[in-house]
């Protein structure tokens, strides 16, 4: 074997003995070096049970300090919706010209809350997972994926509430066959959000200050996505309107409203735009996240 520690009589012998260690470095690697992508993805797949367990753990700790607990998942968007209804619907009168403004608003607020929660959650996800990251070695992407999974699962009762409210509150939306297409919109939104979380997780773990900026971005995005008013009514400039059509959150909202509230078949361009976002964002986001794999445990 290669472990003979030879004592050499070196030129320095007057000063000191030298302990010559002959080391075979073929088995050794720099610590914390990220594995190649293929190995990484495979070990991520091996951690699928961990991802599920971690997402459950987060579900447990999320709303635990409040009296109503997980009821706030539904309560928050309802209160948000009520506030927007009073300000934008009643006081500012942006509801004029919008059919079924309540349905419009409900879908907007509920669906957008998913993306914005993912964005802000992704901003803090690496620091909240720091204990686990330092204690165990596992592909760090498990942490943001667990967060997306958690948000997705907690979104299900929220969506159920939204559907009930859209139908129950006058003017009632009618259930059509198009409702069957809605899960596809939700799936695309989940995929897009996952990519978003990867990006948010990496940039905020590198520069924590961006957490503040992301809160601002989220709010700006809220107004730019036509959550509580119809963008078409307020934006007259054709180029700006065209740019807005590329906004993935806008696509999600428009598609959901067409399918659920207005019983229309949405335009193909909306589907294609959202589909492109839903494929490109998670793939690029995952690569971007993986590139800083070594850095997440560092201080």
């Amino acid at each position: 074997m290669s472990r003979e520690t030879t004592r050499l009589r070196s030129p320095l012998v007057e000063i000191d003995d030298i302990n010559l260690e002959s080391v075979d470095v073929s088995r050794l690697q720099p610590v914390g070096q990220r594995p190649p992508l293929g190995v990484y993805v495979r070990s991520l797949w091996d951690r699928r049970h961990f991802i599920v367990a971690d997402s459950r753990a987060r579900a447990f700790s999320g709303n635990r300090d409040t009296l109503l607990g997980n009821a706030w998942l539904v309560g928050r968007p309802i209160l948000d919706g009520a506030a927007y209804f009073i300000i934008f619907g009643v006081l500012l009168g942006t509801s004029r010209g919008v059919d079924n403004f309540i349905g419009f608003l409900l879908v907007g607020v509920f669906m957008f809350s998913f993306t914005s929660r993912c964005l802000t959650g992704g901003a803090g996800v690496m620091s909240s997972g720091k204990n686990l990251i330092r204690a165990f070695s596992f592909p760090r992407a498990a942490i943001p994926i667990a967060m997306v999974l958690r948000e997705t699962i907690s979104m299900l009762p929220v969506i159920a509430t939204m559907l009930v409210m859209v139908v129950a509150i006058p003017p009632h939306a009618s259930i059509t066959w198009r409702w069957a297409l809605f899960p596809l919109v939700f799936l695309l939104q989940v995929m897009f959000n996952a990519g978003l979380v990867f990006y948010a997780a990496r940039i905020t773990s590198a520069i924590p200050d961006l957490r503040m900026v992301l809160g601002f971005v989220s709010r700006f995005w809220l107004y730019g996505s036509g959550v509580m008013f119809s963008l078409e009514r307020f934006i007259t400039h054709p180029t700006v309107l065209e740019v807005i059509q590329f906004n993935p959150a806008y696509c999600v909202l428009e598609l959901s409203r067409d399918l659920l509230v207005y019983g229309q078949t949405p335009e193909l361009t909306l589907w294609l735009t959202l589909g492109a976002w839903a494929v490109a964002t998670p793939v690029l986001g995952f690569l971007y996240f993986w590139q800083a794999e070594e850095d997440y445990g560092r201080e």
Binding site: S2, D16, D17, E21, V23, R27, L28, F60, G297
Partner: protein, 329 residues
């Protein structure tokens, strides 16, 4: 106030940390407790010329400003940050089967050294190579503070890549090693730091990591728990693992390790068998505590003189001969 008098007094009383042999008869008549010896194998960690410097803000004026330029800048109000040399040019090779204790005063760079080996910190200079990703047990207590100890065990085992079936089989072993009794069902934030450390050690040890880094843990617990932990550590080492233990309680190192490294202000003072090294450190620390600074300085010099500088000759067996490629697999 003469130091000579104090010296004589010191020779008369039996010092608790006195090195065996040099200071009369050792205080324990029976053989002292030492770490469990395990056959030593291939290198697992190579630390080569490692230095870690921090630039930290300081309210003290220009204390760390050694260079002329730094002193110059200090005059222009840049003295807010000083360079702290937490680890200075440390070189050693750790091998499978060894349990290496790192001793030193507070702020001697022990924890920094361990965190660099864990890959949690980037060294300023030098390299750290390891045969596997090290498991690190730091001083922070809880993993997921809101959740019960049991849930943390499950999550930790899954994080290390176990299947749910294996987790089920492993949990009893972890619980026995942690020895927390019914507290295992309480949220982890209610644990004392000793309890948390024990639990995390039990979780990490269950996966038998190749390299286990323990920072100031395991010092607590009753004798039985301590013994179980030590047996577990020996287990890991028998399976070609290496354990690092950082503690400023040198007795823990003396009892649980086979080799020890003494760090003083980031510099490696001594690297040798745990018992002798830890004893030398304790004798030095005892003199420092008694205010015998000149004597302590002398002891430090003696230790430095004994240190044999390590030179690493790295070679790669996979590039030499074809057969060698299969040797380690």
């Amino acid at each position: 106030m003469s130091e000579a008098v104090n010296d004589v007094v010191n020779h008369d009383v039996s010092a608790p940390g006195g090195p065996a042999g040099s200071e009369g008869d050792p205080d324990a008549p029976d053989a002292p407790k030492k770490g469990i010896e395990v056959p030593v194998g291939d290198p697992t960690v190579l630390v080569n010329h490692l230095s870690v410097h921090y630039r930290v803000p300081s309210s003290e004026r220009a204390r760390g400003a050694q260079s002329r330029a730094a002193r110059m800048l200090a005059r222009f109000g840049w003295s807010r940050t000083v360079t702290v040399k937490a680890v200075r040019d440390v070189t050693f090779v750790a091998r499978a089967g060894e349990s290496i204790g790192v001793v030193g005063h507070n702020g001697s760079g022990k924890s920094t050294l361990l965190r660099v080996i864990a890959g949690l910190e980037t060294p300023t200079a030098g390299t750290v190579l390891a045969s596997a990703t090290p498991s690190f047990l730091g001083v922070n207590a809880a993993l997921l503070p809101e959740m019960s100890g049991m849930a943390n065990v499950r999550l930790g085992l899954l994080a290390m890549g176990m299947t749910p079936a294996r987790v089920k089989d492993t949990i009893p072993e972890v619980l026995e090693l942690a020895g927390l009794g019914s507290s295992i069902h309480l949220p982890m934030k209610t644990y004392s730091s000793g309890m948390g450390a024990r639990l995390r050690f039990a979780i990490s040890a269950a996966a038998r990591p190749e390299i286990l880094l323990i920072d100031e843990a395991l010092a607590t617990g009753d004798a039985a728990t301590k013994q179980r932990s030590e047996a577990k550590m020996a287990d890991i080492r028998k399976q070609a693992g290496t354990v690092f233990l950082v503690s400023h309680a040198a007795q823990t190192i003396e009892e649980m390790c086979t080799r020890a490294i003494w760090l003083h202000e980031g510099e490696m003072v001594l690297d040798g068998p745990a018992y002798e090294t830890a004893r030398a450190y304790r004798w030095w620390a005892w003199n420092v505590a008694k205010g015998e600074h000149r004597k302590a300085e002398g002891l430090l010099e003696d230790a430095r003189a004994q240190l044999r500088a390590t030179h690493v000759a790295a070679h790669d067996s996979t590039t030499q001969r074809y057969i060698a490629r299969h040797r380690h697999i």
